[in-house]
């Protein structure tokens, strides 16, 4: 096959633009993996945006039940937010530790991330359980349906993230900082930070706007 046969570059610039950037060929694996994961995260954000849209449509449909301002506790939400933002910081530290191949700091930072994530989840779970016990469960009104679904969907993602985090730690423990494991760690970090971004949106749209009397 004359695949690698070289011939004139005349074809490269049929319109005489002058400078033609030649595509260098397939990207390295690290770039490909991260890029693909970014595309996945974008699709995940599209899914969240549907739940946001549903929340926006249904927020005033309380059907005689409570409004947002009557059930949100700003202090809880503030603690939750601090936990999640801090965990994003420690997750970043874990990535740096992985980059410099420091196992001790990696485990430590990941463990702190895990604890903060679990703290976030337990506060959220308590909030949900409390609402349900007062009769304000998701089937009480369309507003509560949308609220539980949107916030719960984020909570599910955080739970999956915690599971992934533990798997990541176990992998580093068993296999060390291998190239493919570092790629996975990078994806995990992207995932965790994306959850932070989504939480900021939930915090603003649901709790700040909805918390106002």
């Amino acid at each position: 096959m004359a695949m690698t046969a070289t011939y004139g570059h005349a074809h490269a610039d049929p319109h005489h633009i002058g400078r033609v950037l030649e595509h260098p060929g397939p990207a390295p694996k690290r770039i490909v993996t991260a890029y693909g994961f970014w595309v996945f995260l974008l699709s995940d954000i599209v899914m969240f945006s549907c739940f946001f849209a549903a929340y926006a449509v249904l927020v005033h449909q309380t059907a005689g039940g409570p409004k947002g301002s009557e059930i949100f506790e700003q202090k809880n939400v503030a603690i939750e937010t601090v936990c999640l933002l801090l965990s994003s910081f420690t997750c970043g530290m874990a990535s740096i530790a992985a980059d410099v191949r420091n196992r001790l700091w990696f485990y430590l930072c990941m463990a702190v991330t895990c604890v903060l994530g679990l703290a976030f989840l337990s506060i959220e779970f308590r909030e949900f359980a409390d609402l349900v016990s007062r009769g304000y469960g998701p089937s009480r009104s369309a507003f509560l349906t949308a609220f539980f679904s949107l916030v719960g969907c984020h909570g599910l993602h955080v739970s999956a993230g915690v599971l992934w985090l533990l798997t990541m730690m176990a992998q580093v423990f068993a296999k060390g900082f291998r190239a493919d494991i570092l790629r996975r760690q990078m994806c995990f970090a992207l995932f965790w930070h994306a959850l932070d971004i989504i939480w900021v949106a939930i915090f603003s749209v649901v709790y700040l706007l909805g918390g106002a009397p």
Binding site: M1, A2, M3, T4, A5, T6, Y7, H9, H11, A12, P14, V20, L21, E22, H23, P24, G25, P26, A27, I31, V32, Y35, G36, V39, F40, L42, S43, D44, V46, M47, C50, F51, A53, A54, V57, L58, Q61, T62, A63, P138, S139, R140, S141, A142, F143, T145, A146, F148, S149, L163, T167, Q171, A174, K175, D180, R184
Partner: protein, 667 residues
Amino acid sequence: MFGKLDWSAIPFGQPIPLIAGAVVLVAILGVLAWVVVKGHLPYLWHEWITSVDHKRIGVMYVLLASVMLLRGGSDAIMMRIQQAIAYQSQGYLPPEHYNQIFSAHGTIMIFFVAMPFVIGLMNLVVPLQLGVRDVAFPTLNSVGFWLTATGALLVNISLVVGEFARTGWLAFPPLSGLTYSPGVGVDYYAWSLQISGVGTLVAGINLVTTVLKLRTRGMNYLRMPMFCWTTLASNLLIVAAFPILTATLAMLLLDRYLGFHFFTNEAGGNVMMFMNLIWAWGHPEVYILVLPAFGIYSEVVSTFSHKPLFGYRSMVLATMAICVISFMVWLHHFFTMGAGPDVNAIFGIASMIIAVPTGVKIYNWLFTMYGGRIRFATPMLWSIGFMVTFIIGGLTGVLVAVPPADFLLHNSMFLVAHFHNVIIGGVLFGAFAGFEYWFPKAFGFRLDERWGKAAFWFTFTGFYITFMPLYIVGMLGMTRRMQHYDVAAWRPWMLVAAIGMAVLTVGVICQVMQLVVSIRNREALRDRTGDPWDGRSLEWATSSPPPVFNFAFHPDVRGEDAYWAMKQHAKEQQLAHHFEPEYEDIEMPRNSPTGFVCAFFASVTGFALIWHIWWMVILGVLGAFATFVVFAWRDHDEYVIPAAEVARIDQANIEERRNLVSMAGAL
């Protein structure tokens, strides 16, 4: 123990589904037994089921689509017969069975025929056209395929165990809510789409990354073959639209399973929100299907006209324009919702604007043919048949994009005729064109031209005889989904449509015969050149079927129509110098059963969810998670093909081609 599942789930009183189910079961068991007895099971397992080779996965996608096409087609035949005889009578189908049939027909044709067909062709061809060795995430690719197969499996199980949705192919609430559909039909619908939707999303992410990040050296954006561009556009739409479907179905399922109030009539739920969400996915879906078909036509028309594609850049622009505009027109699916004239006008105009880039494409194909040396091979016939048919479909589409006209034609048979006109004339013809065009690449031998042409002409005429009458009855006021009717004026047209269906069926039989005849004559039809059509893009540069690594070297691309330029260059050089290339070891991804095992657990989970068998749900989910952990734990995900082996395969190909060239010279 078994949730809602008991013996009453099996419709012992209804002969049609029972016999159909028995026939399918016997066929499956027969094939399985044949495979086991002949000792093909290890081959199937190692070479196909666990394969992560994009070509193999592409072939399996197309196979799945073909099998499901027969299933969806039988539904269509049953519907045409019912409407032909149901004039002032009940027909032969009880209403609730008829409702299941049209729901299953739509669901299957869109999700399990059109989608896997185009995704399969993209999978097979795009890495070859880009000059690369595989897609970005090979194992994920396998997972995506097997999850799609899971969805198809669940839909088919509903034929015998339980029932399918009676709600139409988009399951609008409140009809699909628990109050009006207490059975498992809607659950079958929702879970099978949920699972296969994840598979589609995975395929979309994979192909977007492949096109954007893996192109070979010199394959600049404006040198990519048109099919790669439409693949990119289509998969961008998948990534942006399928999460909407996932979210919408999740909401519907929450309503049904946990008593939520997204789409209920009580407690402030909003039914129109479902319409908006489902069509925000559903409209782009139409373009997800038709854009790859447009790419196929571009390749076919250019190859068989012996000319570069006319207006390549305008074609790229038109593709991306369609990609964007397709998200801005969803509301035209419910002009009658009462959004008011301003909203309707805006969406009406947006819907008409999308005809502009589509028109650009049609003109580009016509100008590509103009002055070309046209060969009327089967793929070209499908393409020309498409152009004629699609223009009619497009024109009726612009007609229903006018809100006042839509108020008259809404939910009428006119609409049914319109979307079958564009989906069959656009997507299915394209899928068949691509199938005929790339079959030799996938299997190393051509398809029989005589049967192929017969299949085209029967399908083409059959299509017109079936669907043109539906436009007329639509304008005579017949609404869609009627189980029986009393209007004498509709009767003759329904009879004509039934005759058309018979002609269409002959087309399908010809298609099957073509495959059978071609496989029997495969030695005579063998393609040793790797380039049976005198092609222009890189997939024809390698042998047919391509070696597992596709290319011994990453091709170095210097312009549009990369392979055509290489051939011209070789002719100019008179093959003067034979260079001895230095081969290198090639790393390829290892096969993995991850996809199949995941799909197994997904099937178990899906079935358990449908029937509320909670312990089985937990088991299935745990199994799926364990599969991923096991996959993540493996140490060797690649194997090496030594340079000597690469050299042997590549040299054999070169030798073969050289012999053919010298034979041609002797003539």
